[in-house]
Symmetry: C2
Subunit: 315 residues, 2 copies
Amino acid sequence: MSVFEPVGPGFAVGLDIGGTKVMGVLLDPDERVIGSVRLPTVHGVDGVVATALTAVRALTDGIGLVRAQLAGLGVGVPGVVDPIRGTVEHAVNLGLPGEPTPLARLLSEALDGLCVTCENDLNVAALGAAHGVGMPSDLAFLALGTGLGAGIVLDGRVRRGAFGAAGEIGHLTFDPDGPLCACGQRGCLEVYGSGGSIDARWPSDGVTPAPVALFAAAAAGDVRAVSIRDSVVSAVATAVRVLVLTTDVPLVVLGGGVAALREPLLEGVVGVLDAQATGSGFLRSMRIPERVVLTPAGVPVGAVGAGLLVRDQAS
Amino acid sequence: MSVFEPVGPGFAVGLDIGGTKVMGVLLDPDERVIGSVRLPTVHGVDGVVATALTAVRALTDGIGLVRAQLAGLGVGVPGVVDPIRGTVEHAVNLGLPGEPTPLARLLSEALDGLCVTCENDLNVAALGAAHGVGMPSDLAFLALGTGLGAGIVLDGRVRRGAFGAAGEIGHLTFDPDGPLCACGQRGCLEVYGSGGSIDARWPSDGVTPAPVALFAAAAAGDVRAVSIRDSVVSAVATAVRVLVLTTDVPLVVLGGGVAALREPLLEGVVGVLDAQATGSGFLRSMRIPERVVLTPAGVPVGAVGAGLLVRDQAS
């Protein structure tokens, strides 16, 4: 028996299916990551299912994990997800149709009846981030990716809300006179604080990611870059304030592509929050700057959180 | 035996202790209001305790309720409340000292060891409003009183947060160039949407409440009144959007003194929300205007919610 051969039941696969890539992890029964995979996403229902199956097989077959050892599969996808029915809607960047896609059933059927749970991608990222920072009960995961939105875990449970829309703070107004947002409103937080907004205002040269290039140019004194960078950190700071003053989560975890900037982003956001608190005893008492952290480096929080759904499903 | 004589155990008293008045209710074992009282608040620790005891006795002694029939006392108070320790802090408008006041213990000692639970006044109002609208599981109570803030009930439980500050949305920025707020920031939502902000901008003549006078003057075409009224409804609409897009509660209940305006307030707020949704498919899909309701007329939601704490404490 190889030392890498998995023993016993209780393993879980977590997949984070995004518009460009699928991240997958294999969790052992102690919720440690013992394998990971990254594949390009094939769009459309058949494409998404095929990519997911390829990822599951890559994670399990290679180390000889058999079906009986797998407790289940958790899947994070963008869009409006009904975790009870296992359906996905409005996941436009996966090329799924208008009507709800029964993703959990399709995957379960292709995997010999394996138990499959689906959840919104920001919600699984929040679960994964909570696991990563060792504080599983209460936090918000602020995703700065193509869009801007939050996954929220309160008292250890994902907060979905009445329409599965909890955390949709990217479409709160930052500047009512600002540019049009894809949602049809003007000056949404997403128009200033998302990775997409940086791509649009400071396009990448194809080598350096746009946020890195923007922050480097700003650090070098480029006036336009400074202005764009300042709008990014201000919008992110506003999003943090909204999350804290509404839900009073003790922790806001910055994640998504823009958070790959690491300390320069965190320092910028904390700087804005510190400045805002200067004149306000109320704000100082809220200790907002102290609540902001970066997502753990190198951890695919979405895939890990998706894998943790399997545990929650069992309880 | 009189028909009014209460039979059996399981009665509860709820008190909502505010800066000017104490509202009290007696709930029967089926959570129906069978008595109510309203007293002016005497400030300071001794005054608050004495007022509360007077209210409890007025609700119980008059109908011959004896100590053994009373399951407990629930108390809503402004400020930062620790429901576990039963202490109150920062309740400046009750004239309480800087250090935490052990209100639950003081009241329990004066009431022969009766079980006493304390909770923030907005949180009990949210519980009472949820009870009043027959949807006890998930809502926000947006209080438009001296200040502006929300009590939030999620999945049937009061959301307190890490610092007891959940719902403190009155100090989110509405206009960064606006007037100073008491909290030290500029242009907070509270500066535009609270009853206090109306009092300051359109003082009452001592007969007609300021919000009523303001809305009447605006309806009559007074240009300055129109401008103030529009800022009030815009700020309240923004507060509703923040609550819905962050927590996705299915219901936002407008309460507090300004909500005594009833339909004219509701129509104004819904009008702003409708207009905002016109150009945004995203906002329309959120159905925010449909989620806004007025607090049930004639129900002292704070006192009722405080009485319901006794039930929660037993479970």
